[in-house]
């Protein structure tokens, strides 16, 4: 096979060279981090007061982990390491208690991120000849703009359509001869099921590749996508804390995702003990960003579970491959690519007086798409006897959830005592979707 490399020298550099680059960039990242209030304090406590404080990559373990909670507590500027004037982009994600997390990018940070994403795209064999339909959300979410900039660097013809409106998506695929998609796996399967409705057959479309991400999916799901649509589907991993898409991506061999080790230091840890564990064993993914200076991130606990492959990939790249994400260490749900914590839902519905104290979050599939149902018991004292009041309550809950967690949930009203009584957290969330 002819292997496409965006940057062959880096992508096939030997381990010694990679580690040299990592150490040098780690030093620079530390110097930057020390300019932020949060890391100045944390690194100070760890006895690190300058970029030279780290002499070898093993020294990384002297630095404590950074968690999502740290990011929330530091909102808005705790991790900012440059003057706001140098910031050219802000991306943000919603938080569990309404406190978002924010990532700032300088001009150079955006350039580095873009180059990395271009590398990902190019490694799948996509080129400037391709027509790219970017179906991920644009806006504060990094998925849309992240791939957009990378695709532009590759020279692809980009259709920045964003998500939703299935009929139009399919029509656009036909009208503009789209060849590459960026999409969640469940939405892609849904699109396939809707082709008949729109009256466009698969043969009229020219899709050959899909970059799939934003939600965990099994190898079987990927194979099903490839078989039904007759395309190659490449797994993509990223998170806004570490830029967004571009952290890890599959090459033409599609045997799990290369983590770009000149840009990230990846560690797999035992989530209970925090010990770094060896390649091949499953644990929590911890990432250090070596190419972002406006908002440095050191040893970030992603709460994603995966393992690293010790063996080299046939493509010749020396950057290790990470397995697909196998689970979470927390209770976060991913509904059609959107992250949501049960506590976000709880917080919103408990604010509504007509809702009693018992509720249940129910997740299942409707066709290929995930469906979130929130079942609540109504509070008897506030029942006024009108059906319209209850209808309004249902709509209020639905709207509150839609605006805070960006998901259209199905709302069910129940009588007190109708829902199972929760003992601890376990029964609050019922996820009927099959395990990976």
């Amino acid at each position: 096979m002819d292997i496409p490399y965006w940057n062959k020298e880096i992508e096939t550099a030997d381990r010694a060279t990679i580690e040299k680059i990592q150490l040098e960039r780690l030093g620079k990242t530390l110097s930057c981090a020390l300019r932020s209030p949060f890391y100045k304090r944390m690194l100070g406590e760890a006895g690190i007061s300058s970029g030279d404080g780290i002499k070898s990559l093993d020294d990384l373990r002297r630095i404590p982990f950074t968690t999502k909670d740290d990011l929330r507590k530091s909102f808005p500027k705790g991790l900012l390491s440059v003057d706001m004037q140098e910031v050219v982009r802000i991306h943000s994600s919603s938080g569990t208690t309404g406190i978002p997390t924010v990532i700032y990018f300088s001009m150079e940070d955006v350039k580095n991120w873009t180059d990395l994403v271009a590398r990902c795209i190019f490694s799948t064999g996509a080129t400037s000849k391709d027509v790219f339909q970017n179906m991920m959300t644009y806006g504060l979410f990094t998925g849309g703009l992240g791939l957009h900039y990378g695709a532009e660097a590759v020279g692809m013809t980009i259709i920045p359509i964003g998500g939703g409106n299935t009929k139009r998506q399919i029509k656009v695929m036909k009208d503009f001869h789209t060849t590459v998609l960026h999409i969640t796996p469940s939405y892609l399967l849904h699109i396939h099921s809707r082709l008949g409705d729109v009256g466009i057959s698969r043969d009229e479309l020219t899709i050959s590749k899909a970059f799939v991400g934003a939600e965990p999916h099994s190898e079987n799901t990927r194979l099903k996508i490839e078989e039904l649509l007759g395309i190659d589907a490449y797994n993509s991993y990223g998170l806004s804390e570490l830029n967004g898409p571009g952290v890890a991506f599959e090459c033409v061999y599609k045997k799990d995702m290369h983590v770009w080790e000149d840009a990230y230091i990846v560690e797999i840890i035992d989530p209970e003990t925090g010990e770094v564990i060896e390649d091949g064993r499953e644990g929590e993914v911890v990432l250090t960003n070596l190419i972002r200076h406006a908002t440095p991130i050191l040893r970030y606990r992603t709460r994603d579970l995966a393992f690293l492959h010790p063996e080299k990939c046939e493509c010749g790249r020396t950057h290790r491959r990470m397995s697909r994400i196998l689970g979470r260490t927390d209770d976060m749900l991913i509904i059609n690519g959107v992250n949501v914590f049960p506590s976000q839902i709880e917080e919103k519905i408990m604010q509504i007086p007509e809702v009693g104290t018992n509720y249940q979050i129910y997740v299942d599939k409707k066709g290929s798409l995930d469906r979130l149902t929130v079942k609540v018991e109504i509070y008897p004292k506030l029942f006024m006897g009108e059906a319209s009041q209850l209808d309004a309550l249902k709509n209020k809950i639905k709207e509150e959830l839609r605006s805070s967690i960006v998901i259209n949930a199905v709302i069910e009203l129940h009588e007190p005592g109708a829902l199972p009584v929760s003992e601890g957290k376990a029964q609050r969330v019922v996820d009927q979707r099959s395990k990976l």
Binding site: I378, P380, F383, M384, G385, E386, A387, L390, D391, K394, E412, L413, H414, E415, P416, G417, A418
Partner: protein, 143 residues
């Protein structure tokens, strides 16, 4: 004269309506009028019974979500045009109806129309002014 209607929240679950009615039946409560407002996912049962206080307590104690609403029961002749004539009076006087339901009386040639008004006091004034017969709570019990 206002009378009392009981509204009961009915979850969309099999047998829920039966549960309410058998509870009332087992406790000697007689339903005089009934209607159900339904939506896609639940219903609100509205009933006029012969003993509202006992009935609503019974329902609440048995775990139903129930409450009391003031409605007005209007009596008209049980013949074509009976309802229309009353509705004309309301329309002419800007009396707004939220919902209504009707049933016939057993031992007379009258029909009973149960109305929930946006403004109950105004409605009662208009009814009195137009000599339209309104049935009292006591008369409901005796029906």
């Amino acid at each position: 004269m206002k009378i009392t209607q009981i509204s009961v929240f009915l979850e969309n679950r099999k047998g829920r309506l039966f549960d309410v009615c058998s509870l009332l039946g087992d406790n000697n409560i007689n339903i005089r009028a009934l209607t159900i407002a339904e939506t896609e996912s639940f219903g609100v049962l509205r009933i006029v019974v012969d003993n509202s206080d006992v009935a609503v307590k019974l329902l609440k104690d048995s775990g139903f979500v129930a409450n009391l609403t003031d409605v007005v029961a209007v009596e008209v002749g049980d013949k074509p045009g009976g309802l229309a004539s009353v509705l004309k009076v309301f329309a002419d006087n800007d009396v707004n109806i939220e919902y209504m339901y009707g049933f016939v009386e057993k031992f007379s040639d009258k029909a009973l129309l149960v109305f929930r008004f946006a403004d109950t006091d105004l409605a009662q004034q208009i009814l009195a002014k137009n000599d339209i017969k309104v049935v009292t709570e006591k008369e409901i019990e005796g029906l």
